[in-house]
């Protein structure tokens, strides 16, 4: 039926355009080849849509507008939802033609809102829910920014600033793997009503630990030449000696007792000479291609986090296509308007399939373009940003809040930038995001009302 086609078209659109923002960073940093990226994205987008897409879909289906208002004439509700889909599709097509950044989530929410407010009246709209959604649009980029900042700060302090980066990476990698797997397991487990919260958390932690152990085995096998110079003196000793020197100088300065003074200055002199000799012997000169080794290990982590983002994206964005379709389905099948109907699994599967097909036919081209332009996101930075974004999007999907995945990613990248991780970021994007927020909703609302009247003319 027409609604299905429209929903499928939306899903196709999402797959074609939105996925690039999620996977482009991994292709750009050469963590994934284009083929592998598309393949992995397809699997995980579908998985996310199928397994976790129901929450957000329900919100769009019946959370924003109260369907019972339309009891007198259910067809209006049906046409309204179809109109929303049509309007959003048109808006997205226009936006991509003109090269404007428009979020699919903002578009569909705006469209549904427009239909509800204009046709159903002010009371038809669930303003509380809308308030939640609006605040989540502001909070999600912030949260993902904070998360990425935290993750990258950890990477910075423990790995980049360490005296043996590769060894530190080998120690920290299992921890990051643990984080990734726990987050995914948590979102999947607490989704089921048959597991209590404690059991869910426990199970997720176990899965995370198992993955961490496995990754530890993999990482330990990477042998690297140890950081020793020919004379057997490590840079670690040089730096430690300098620290000891500073401490001793502090003692010397704060010392008031004349008896100890000469002894301290004696030791100070010896230590100074020792430090100088050790420093001369250690040459830091050939120790800086270590960072390439670190990046290599992080490539695997970035692939992991990219899959996570694809999963989260599928979960959150499939609702944009399927939510209205589900609403229409429930009305046409049961001929009543209820607030209780759940989203059928086959519908989620169709949504997921739509995204995958969109990705396979057109999306890969966009991923290629994005990947060519983003070459500065090295695996360490990419991992931090993607993990922050993925965790935020997963959380929002769990809570049933539709958020813009693109904005979450942008927030995450800014988070990494704040931690001094990136070379140059365009703050202009913040202005663009604000403008697109303000413009999208009224525009889509208007279009949706227009579409509704159009459909009414056709069908009634």
């Amino acid at each position: 039926m027409l609604t299905l086609v429209l929903g499928f078209y939306m899903a196709w659109n999402i797959g074609a355009n939105d996925v690039a923002n999620a996977m482009g960073t991994s292709v750009g940093s050469k963590a994934l080849s284009l083929r592998r990226a598309v393949f992995l994205a397809a699997i995980f987008e579908f998985a996310g849509a199928f397994f976790l897409g129901a929450n957000v879909s329900e919100t769009i289906q019946k959370g924003i507008i109260d369907p019972t208002i339309f009891q007198s004439d259910p067809m209006i509700f049906v046409l309204g939802m179809m109109g929303s889909l049509l309007a959003t599709g048109a808006a997205l097509q226009l936006a991509s033609y003109f090269g404007l950044p428009v979020s699919t989530t903002h578009a569909i929410v705006g469209a549904v809102l427009g239909f509800g407010a204009c046709i159903g009246g002010i009371d038809a709209v669930n303003w509380r829910e809308l308030g939640w959604i609006a605040s989540s649009w502001i909070l999600s980029p912030l949260l993902s920014g904070v998360l990425s900042y935290a993750i990258f700060s950890i990477i910075q302090r423990k790995i980049l600033f360490a005296l043996d980066p590769i060894e530190s990476t080998q120690k920290m990698a299992p921890f990051f793997v643990f984080l990734c797997f726990t987050v995914v397991a948590l979102t999947l487990c607490s989704h089921r009503p048959d597991l209590s919260t404690k059991l869910a958390i426990g199970l997720s932690c176990l899965i995370g630990l198992a993955a961490a152990m496995a990754s530890r085995l993999v990482v330990q096998r990477i042998t690297t030449p140890s950081l020793q110079t020919a004379e057997g003196v490590t840079p670690y000793q040089a730096v430690s000696l300098e620290k000891a020197l500073h401490h001793l100088q502090r003692v010397h300065l704060s010392n008031r007792d004349a008896a100890y003074s000469s002894e301290i200055s004696n030791v100070l002199g010896h230590l100074q000479r020792l430090t100088d000799t050790v420093r001369k012997k250690t040459s830091f000169l050939y120790s800086t291609n270590r960072y390439q080794g670190v990046e290599k290990i992080f490539v695997a982590l970035q692939i992991l986090s990219a899959c996570l983002v694809a999963f989260a994206h599928g979960a959150n964005d499939v609702a944009n296509a399927i939510g209205p379709v589900a609403a229409v389905m429930s009305v046409l099948k049961n001929n009543t308007l209820s607030t209780q109907s759940a989203i059928p699994a086959w519908l989620l599967a169709i949504g997921g399939a739509g995204i995958v097909i969109g990705l396979a036919t057109w999306g890969w081209r966009v991923i290629e373009t994005v990947g060519k332009k983003i070459t500065e996101l090295t695996p360490t930075r990419g991992f931090s940003a993607e993990f922050g974004a993925a965790a935020t999007i997963l959380l929002a999907s769990k809570l049933g809040l539709p958020i813009s995945t693109t904005h979450a990613l942008i927030g995450a990248v800014f988070g990494v930038g704040m931690a001094r991780g990136l070379k140059a970021l365009n703050l202009q994007m913040l202005k663009e995001i604000l403008v697109s927020w303000i413009m999208t909703i009224p525009f889509c609302a208007l279009l949706s009302v227009l579409a509704f009247y159009l459909l009414k003319l056709c069908f009634m």
Binding site: T25, L425, N426
Partner: protein, 224 residues
């Protein structure tokens, strides 16, 4: 949509390194100039001087290019002011080279016999100090990768200390030369005396600027 791609701005760090390479080509002409100075070959001095002028102009074009493409809305891991300072210092290195070249063309340089050896040492030391500073700027790429900390920062710190030591040695040589000049320069005509003094000071200034450049980069580092 290409939203994520538009997020990344044009990094000014690569152009900064290109500018330093252009400055290096200026300074690269200096050893030939110094040789011609000592040999009192005015034709060669003229030729090299014009070459240095041309190269300095090219470096200036790159510098202006960088400055125009550094909008306030670009978010960098270092302060805008610090970046522009480093650029300024690189530019003053090229300017200094041009100044030395111009001075050399004024008149034939008369060196007292006891000064010859030290003068050659001064020239080599100063150019060495510059090449060390050049190496430091080349390390910017790695520094960005390590987020300005860790062993990379220790390495750059060591390099900067080397430049400082070179500057100290240059200072010593300069003082010694000027002392010789004051003590033995009674017989020299005033213009020749002044040219000698002026050239020694200008050449020494090159090492000073290199040290300042090194210090500016050191200020960016996160050393524990």
């Amino acid at each position: 949509m290409l939203t994520i791609a538009k997020l990344f701005g044009k990094s000014p760090f690569a152009p900064l390194q290109t500018h330093m390479d252009k400055v290096a080509s200026c300074i690269g002409e200096l050893p030939a100039l110094f040789q011609a100075l000592v040999a009192q070959d005015m034709k060669a001095i003229e030729r090299v001087s014009q070459q240095i002028s041309r190269l300095e102009h090219e470096a200036d074009l790159t510098k202006n290019d960088i400055r125009t493409h550094l909008p306030r809305t670009l978010f960098l891991p270092v302060d805008h002011g610090e970046l522009l300072e480093i650029l300024s210092l690189q530019d003053s290195l090229a300017d200094q080279a041009e100044k030395i070249a111009e001075r050399s063309t004024m008149r034939k340089l008369q060196l007292l016999p006891e000064m010859r050896e030290d003068f050659s040492s001064l020239c080599t030391k100063v150019v060495e100090a510059f090449w060390l500073a050049h190496k430091v700027i080349k390390e910017l790429e790695e520094l960005l990768e390590s987020s300005f900390g860790g062993i990379e920062a220790q390495k750059v710190k060591g390099m900067v200390e080397q430049i400082a030591f070179h500057e100290y040695e240059t200072s010593q040589l300069q003082n010694h030369l000027i002392k010789c000049l004051y003590q033995g320069g009674d017989a020299m005509p005033y213009p020749a005396f002044h040219l000698c003094l002026s050239l020694i000071e200008e050449i020494g200034r090159l090492a000073c600027i290199s040290e300042e450049l090194g210090n500016r980069v050191r200020m960016l580092l996160e050393l524990k």
